[in-house]
């Protein structure tokens, strides 16, 4: 420990050491947890050590991570979104139904789905602003509305519970190339959402830490009255964050649609909690104003490693959620402990 104490004004305040500064970063608990999980499965599951499986693990993580990073930003901005899980399904269904029902180019359906997803986000933000209700309640409402609409509209359009086949329609090939293609690096298969996930993680982390919008997000979640008093457009910031989760839902929804060629209308329920868990493991506070985008991605990676590690280790996969629950509590405690340690140094 090297602590310099060069403070003329107040000798109680010492300059923080480098290690304490590192431990004070929000993502550090997730990184430690991620290493622990990796070491655990590397030692118990031989298949986990195979290089070829890296792509599979990253893919599993990316389908959580793409949403988790947007959810993390929203949580740093002080709000929740419980509708994210079904919003992914809604977006996929919207694109498929629109293209099939009106016989449009697939790309037009994709574009309509984007507008729809952003509009759902904007609506959540607007409703929050107009009613003054907690976002937990507002988005719980949106969650049920979307869940019902997914089932009902699918039944009206197709007469069944899943979207119709649109693989022979115009634009399918190119859209599939954009949303669900894959390539190989050595023996590792990279499915395209992994690329989007990593790119968006870097982009959103930059936005949070290095732009004024990041400053606004932190302030909005930390103390919205203080933020408003110095002229930060609080409601606009929050609405933009909700639209961000809408964008994430669209991207993931498009991937699901073009990867599996159809969307089940009942999918997605419960996923919203996985995203929130990833964000919390990554160091986001439930009260807002603090957290990390990179941390949320590491949280998603922990989920991906656990999901596949359990099956690679030939454990009973039924225990996955139990394991996740333990991880959540554990990670939160580690975060809290590390933060206190870092603050007290």
């Amino acid at each position: 420990m090297t602590t310099a104490s060069a403070t003329p004004g107040d000798d109680r305040v010492k300059t923080k050491s480098t290690s304490a500064t590192f431990l004070g970063m929000p993502a550090v608990g997730a990184v430690i947890g991620g290493l622990a999980v990796a070491v655990l499965f590397l030692s118990v599951a031989p298949a986990f050590r195979s290089v070829g499986n890296i792509g599979t693990i990253l893919y599993g993580s990316s389908t959580i991570g793409i949403m988790a990073i947007f959810v993390a930003l929203l949580m740093i901005g002080g709000e929740f979104d419980l509708s994210t899980g079904v919003a992914v399904t809604s977006s996929g269904l919207c694109a498929a139904h629109m293209a099939w029902y009106f016989n449009l180019n697939v790309w037009t359906g994709v574009l309509i789905a984007l507008i729809f997803s952003l509009a759902v986000g904007a609506f959540n933000g607007w409703l929050l602003h107009r009613t003054g209700l907690p976002s937990f309640l507002v988005t719980l409402g949106t969650f049920f509305v979307l869940q019902g609409a997914n089932l009902a509209v699918t039944r009206i359009v197709t007469g069944g519970v899943s979207s119709n086949d649109i693989t022979d329609m115009q634009g399918w090939k190119s859209a599939q190339a954009v949303f669900a293609s894959s390539f190989k690096i050595g023996s590792v298969t990279i499915i395209i959402p992994i690329v989007y996930w990593i790119f968006l993680t870097l982009l959103l982390s930059f936005v949070l830490l290095r732009t004024k919008y990041g400053n606004w997000i932190l302030a909005t979640g930390g103390d919205d009255k203080a933020a408003r008093a110095v002229g930060v457009p609080v409601m606009m910031t929050k609405t933009a964050l909700f639209m961000g989760t809408g964008f994430g839902a669209w991207l993931l929804g498009m991937h699901n649609l073009f990867e599996y060629n159809n969307v089940q209308s009942g999918q997605g329920v419960g996923q919203e909690f996985i995203y929130i868990i990833a964000a919390v493991i990554g160091g986001c506070l439930l009260t807002g104003g603090y957290g990390s985008v990179v941390g949320a991605s590491v949280g998603a990676l922990i989920y991906g490693m656990t999901l596949l590690g359990i099956s690679y280790a030939k454990w009973d996969v039924d225990w996955l959620k139990t394991f996740l629950g333990v991880m959540l509590i554990g990670a939160t405690l580690v975060n809290q402990y590390v933060k206190r340690k870092a603050d007290s140094r």
Partner: protein, 292 residues
Amino acid sequence: MSPVTVHDNVAAADRAADAPILELDDVGKSYGNVHALRGVNISARQGEVTCVLGDNGAGKSTLIKIIAGLHDYTDGTMKIDGEVRHFGSPRVAQAAGIATVYQDLALAPLMSVWRNFFLGNEIRSGIRLDIPEMKRIAGEELTKMGIVIPDMERPVGGLSGGQRQCIAIARAIYFGAKVIILDEPTAALGVKQSGVVLKYIIAARDAGLGVIFITHNPHHAFLVGNHFVILKLGRVVLDAHRDELTLEQLTGEMAGGQELAELSHELRGADPEKVVAPHDVEHGSITPELDS
């Protein structure tokens, strides 16, 4: 917004040096049939501290909200640099050079010092934040005010209440405020911390700002104030310059003055009798010397 020092302010220099920057003339505010504020005359001049005192419910918060642009007034006129103004939002008031430092909602506690200092007025180079520059300026401005915070990355939640108030004051000065309104800055602070804040009020005054210091502590007010206004039930009951009154008079007025005299007369009949004998506590090394 770029920092403006008073010397650059041509409009202010053209006018007489003692002309008020902010002038409230017979200002009133009614909510329906409730008159929260009636006939208030207050002015703030460069390099002068105007103290507004009053008990709970006297109309202090309504007055702040009018000046800060949260509410519009319904009677009278408010002039900034001699021009009648109605503020539509806090943003407009800030643009007119009026900064308000609220007691409880000044800073986001989990954000670092420099992020708070530049919140809403971030310095950028291109799209990126210019972090080294912001840290440097924040450090300099705080040092000017006499606060030393070695680590600009420290979250403000870890600082003392007085230091937080001072960051908010330094921020307002840096961003070109002409009038700064302090809403009970010492109410939640201890003696030493209050002293720190009072020193910065003087520093802000000496920097050429008009300071409006809202408080219910006449002792704090008398230490720094040039001009004193006492509000009671939405009206001004005292408006005096420093040399026209003493601390005793000010305290007396604040404590209720005439009302307190009446109250003591009324309560004279109630003789508080002993219910139980006081506990006989062993005194330590301290012997009470009541007569000395």
